[in-house]
């Protein structure tokens, strides 16, 4: 048999029907739902008099609009509350495998909640009305974001109409330096291939450095695949994947577990499988990264400088850089380590898992945030992460250093709740998008790893975490 890529294996095992032009109906195993992109889909379904195809595929949670403090007061913003209550009502009417509503012990960011409950399993197709669904690819899934019309389509038919993507292999070989994390790998890749570099491709992340990452780290890298333009990114199954899944609430048990593991072991690209494109990066050459602009590709190492648009030859790119520097309030050629910050955000579906919090806490332990840092926010990805962290005493380390320890949710990643930047404020953020206004109108976002965010909070400016370790 011809050598197949992981993508081809996952794709062909989900084809329900294929037209002669390659348009295919793809079966969906897991449908994750949150409050922002689903109300119009449920409404459309109802208006058309249709029933959901398989409610057992649905795992839902409220995360984008939920506050991260004063939970006893409920959701005070009436528009946010209406959206969350609409999800409550829709799930009540329709049903689900699991629903983690606001204040539930297991509530959290949908991309944290799915994997930690074993609701994301290797070999699945996983969709959600959210672009960071690529996160779940860490488990060798075909996982990608969809729009609201497609949410309705999956509800009604359990399928999506799709065309096969091209394949790209990104190999990261070698050993990551001390203090260099999965987030730095993701940002370095985007810095190299650009925010449109992966457009039209399904990216497989491989190489010894990728295999050396924990599941949390792999999720961070796959999460950012969308920022490289790819709808999905994934990693092959290995022992790390299987060990992570053992004993999770929705993981198979008994004979089913053995059967599943035997199948999952086949979920890797075969020796000699060919990709449409291959990109290679040396792990030991990756430095801790800091973005300086308003797109994740506008990134450099912490020892670098803000670039000078005068040296950019392409006119459209030059104007883009100038606009970004103006928005960010930065002068060309400024050393990154001289850029002072106002706020720190540790959280989001990119970096709010237990390992992320441990990495940040390791830097913070025994230190204090700088006085010029007005707010250093730690928002665990889920209730389970929060309790795990508290059992390890991480919350105490953060609060003793002047950080705020909050309830789980998306929070200042997109500032749909009360957590946000004021105009002109500069933030070291572990989230995934530094777009204009993303963390609040006029706010200035620099994307970094949890360890780098922690180091910035302590120094009051960007600092090389390797010097702090």
């Amino acid at each position: 048999m011809q050598a197949q890529t992981l993508y081809e294996k996952l794709w062909s095992s989900h084809v329900v029907h294929e037209e002669s032009d390659g348009t295919a109906l793809i079966y969906i195993d897991r449908h994750l739902i949150h409050e922002v992109t689903s109300p119009q889909a449920f409404e459309g379904l109802k208006l058309a008099g249709r029933k959901p195809w398989r409610v057992g595929s649905i795992v839902a949670t409220a995360d984008h609009n939920t506050p991260t403090d004063h939970w006893d007061q409920g959701i005070t913003d009436p528009v946010s509350r209406q959206q969350v209550e609409t999800l409550d009502a829709n799930i009540r009417a329709v049903g689900a495998l699991a629903y983690f509503p606001f204040k539930d012990q297991r509530q959290g960011i949908v991309h944290v909640v799915g994997p930690e409950n074993g609701a994301t399993l290797p070999g699945m197709t996983v969709v959600c009305g959210d672009s960071h669904t690529s996160t779940h690819g860490a488990f060798a899934c075909l996982a990608h974001g969809i729009g609201t019309s497609e949410v309705e389509h999956v509800l009604a038919t359990q399928c999506l109409i799709q065309k096969k993507s091209k394949t790209m292999l990104i190999r990261v070989d070698g050993t990551l330096g001390k203090g260099v994390t999965a987030k730095d790998v993701a940002l370095a890749i985007i810095g190299h291939i650009g925010t449109a570099g992966g457009t039209g491709y399904a990216i497989e992340f491989g190489g010894s450095a990728m295999r050396g990452l924990s599941m949390e780290g792999r999720m961070t890298v796959c999460n950012m695949a969308i920022e490289a333009g790819a709808r999905m990114g994934f990693v092959a199954v290995d022992d790390t994947t299987i060990e992570y899944l053992r004993g999770r609430p929705f993981s198979p048990t008994g004979d089913d577990w053995d059967k599943a593991v035997a199948y999952w072991r086949t979920l890797h690209s075969d020796e000699g499988a060919s990709f449409d494109k291959v990109f290679e990066l040396r792990a030991d050459q990756i430095e801790p990264q800091v973005t300086w602009g308003t797109s994740p590709e506008m990134v450099t190492g912490v020892r670098g400088r803000v670039p000078n648009p005068a040296r950019e030859k392409d006119a459209v790119r030059r104007e883009g850089m100038e606009r970004a520097l103006q928005y960010m309030g930065l002068n060309p050629d400024t050393p990154i380590a001289e850029v002072r910050i106002d706020k720190v955000f540790i959280g989001s579906c990119t970096n709010s898992r237990i390992e992320d919090l441990r990495q940040a806490a390791a830097i913070v332990r025994g230190r204090r945030k700088a006085d010029n840092v007005k707010l250093a926010l730690v928002v665990p990805g889920s209730g389970l992460v929060k309790r795990q962290a508290e059992s390890e005493g991480l919350d105490k380390i953060f609060t003793a250093a002047g950080f705020e320890w909050r309830e789980p949710g998306c929070s200042m990643c997109l500032a749909m709740n009360a957590d946000r930047l004021e105009p002109g404020e500069r933030c070291a953020s572990t989230s995934n998008r530094n777009f204009e206004g993303r963390q609040g109108a006029g706010g200035r976002t620099h994307l970094v790893s949890p360890a780098m965010a922690a180091a910035a909070a302590i120094a009051g400016r960007f600092a090389d975490v390797r010097e702090v370790l």
Binding site: Q40, H64, S80, I161, A196, E319, G437
Partner: protein, 212 residues
């Protein structure tokens, strides 16, 4: 969904790469549970001088005179001309809803982000990719020609400038047929309901652990 065949429309230019869906419709407007009414908040942060919140009377808000779409000459435009990687970022379908509600039926760009591209078709917007050289030329023409229009012929897959210069474009045959007929994807898919059931029972037997 409204069918799309031929459109002759005024062109508005947005000369930027990487216009993201946060810029097209900022998150505070995503709290709506409706599909319509997003047009007045399309490009909200660039378009108005103040910070927009849901429930404001947008007709009373101060417009940013520097934002290109606020210029008189582009009012009523139905074709948006832009650069590379348009629609990147969040998967929010509120972005095409906002553009459609604003009045755009066609977006011409050097390239699009995948999810946004897909979302356009689901809402009767035609996203057209043209080579960079053609896009460059169009930006020049729009700037120097008041009232510059383009004719977009989906059945013929051709964009035509007023000077007669024709630019063919690619479109997936399936998507083209859906758009021309205004078909609802769900109805089309449900014609295969038996096949979906068949697949499902096979999968359940082979991989029971995905069904617990």
């Amino acid at each position: 969904m409204d069918a799309f065949t031929i459109l002759d429309g005024l062109v508005a230019p947005l000369d930027r790469n990487n216009v993201d869906t946060d810029a097209i419709i900022p998150k505070q407007f995503l709290k709506s549970i409706k599909r319509s009414g997003f047009g007045p908040n399309a490009f909200d942060e660039w378009r108005y001088m103040d910070v927009g919140e849901p429930g404001m009377d947008n007709s009373k808000r101060p417009l940013n005179p520097k934002f290109v779409l606020n210029q008189d000459r582009y009012q009523g435009a139905s074709v948006l001309l832009t650069r590379a990687n348009f629609g990147c970022g969040s998967s929010r379908e509120h972005a095409p809803w906002a553009l459609l509600d604003y009045g755009f039926r066609v977006i011409v760009a050097e390239s699009f982000a995948d999810i946004f591209f897909n979302n356009c078709y689901k809402n009767g917007i035609l996203p057209i990719v043209l080579p960079k050289a053609e896009v460059d030329a169009l930006f020049g023409l729009v700037e120097h020609t008041p009232g510059f229009r383009l004719k977009v012929d989906l059945p013929a897959q051709l964009v035509t400038r007023p000077d007669g210069h024709g630019m063919p474009f690619d479109v997936d045959p399936f998507r083209k047929e859906c758009l021309i007929n205004g078909w609802d994807d769900i109805g089309l898919t449900l014609r295969h309901a038996d096949k979906i059931r068949e697949y499902e029972s096979r999968r359940r037997a082979e991989h029971p652990y995905y069904y617990s």
